[in-house]
């Protein structure tokens, strides 16, 4: 959870063509984005590709960030677009690539490659993709409700509703699994 103001300043410098600012931002934002991608993708390789694609897209449309606006929702809105686009492309190419897909699944589940046993992913697994996304942005990245609404192109009310439903589901799942306070439950 890092303060956003510094990020806004870095973004302004990035728009001026400052490579150091770009590198700083890549180092700060990439782990969060990668974690988000990993929670929704098949493998670390996929998440790496999505991260690369996201930064290329960010770079291409960096002029659409306007100084004074919060930078994090801007990053996440683009990352979300890249992830959804990637999902659609994979669905469209699935029929013609069944064999390749089978191969990639083998690669994806090869030992040492898959990170689906990551604690947070395991904890959020019962949630729907949109609920997981909102909880990650709120609780892991530390965005405010308004920032999450900006990043997901929805209203604050809609975000609140998703959080409410996600907590209800988490409460049920964690109670059923016997989680209790002070117990890590394999989360870390």
């Amino acid at each position: 959870m890092q303060p956003d103001s510094n990020l806004d300043a870095l973004m302004a410098r990035y728009q001026q063509g400052d490579f150091d600012a770009a590198t700083d931002m890549i180092e700060r934002i990439s782990p969060q984005l990668h974690r988000l991608f990993l929670a929704h993708s098949q493998s670390r390789l996929d998440a790496d590709d999505l991260l690369q694609e996201t930064w290329l897209r960010i770079h291409k449309v960096r002029h659409t960030y306007r100084p004074g606006e919060p930078a994090l929702p801007w990053f996440y809105a683009i990352a979300r677009h890249v992830r959804v686009d990637h999902y659609r492309k994979s669905v469209r190419t699935a029929i013609g690539e069944r064999q390749l897909e089978a191969m990639s699944e083998e690669v994806a589940t090869a030992p040492g490659e898959s990170d689906h046993t990551d604690g947070l992913s395991a904890l959020l697994a019962p949630l729907s993709a949109s609920q997981r996304e909102v909880i990650e942005m709120l609780k892991v990245v530390g965005m405010s409700l308004e920032e999450v609404a900006r990043a997901t192109s929805s209203s604050v009310g809609s975000v609140k509703q998703k959080v409410h439903r996600a907590y209800k589901k988490l409460r049920e799942t964690m109670s059923a699994a016997g989680f209790s306070k002070g117990q890590s439950g394999g989360l870390s």
């Binding site: 890549i26 930064w55 960030y65 306007r66 929702p73 190419t93 013609g96 907590y167």
Partner: protein, 241 residues
Amino acid sequence: MKDEEIDDFLTRAARAPYDLKPETLQRVADSIKPSLRSVRSLPPTWVMAGGLVLVCAAVSLVGAARAGFFGFAKMDLLERLLVFPALVILVWLAATEFVHAMIPGSLRRISPGALLGFASVALLAVFAFLFRDYQTDHFFSIGIVCLLAGFLHAIPAALLGWLLIRRGFAVNSILAGLVAGVLGGLAGVGMLELHCPNFQAAHVLVWHTAVVPLSAAAGALVGWTLRFRSTSSAGERSNTK
């Protein structure tokens, strides 16, 4: 289990170290370095929205000037004072939302679907209040002409609007297309109100208002087509690898 306990679990899970390979970060940095140069950020929302309002006004006025300002001439003062300010407010609202749809991370005050619903209901309310002639002469034959005329003006308004803010980036092309369609449709309605002298309530309520949802549907279809083509071409590239 309480919400605070879930928060606690999430916080502990989120605090778990997450390492990203340095070479991955380096690869990202290297990929953007060659094309890194200073860029000019987009102007404020009100500037772009103002430009869009001017585009819509220009399309409506030019269209009505070519066809004749018969509707405007037939209107009384109250009708002019209600219809055109209502249209300007709706166009401003649609223009602002179109700008938001073209800038990632913008705060949406109204969803595109709600915008379409609100614009249609607002037009229906204004027209129902003002026009009380309940005759229906040549309802379909005249109505279709007005619907087509409005739609044919919605197309250039939406296209010119898109040209004006093309430096933006739509994270959802279908919704951006829908909002552009609503904006263009309102320009089409503006042209019809200036030109069409048929003040029969059923005609105005049905055929004039229908321009907005028709244009919105066309805009959403264009957005969907663009996204479909984008994913198809990516799929073809992937298949030929």
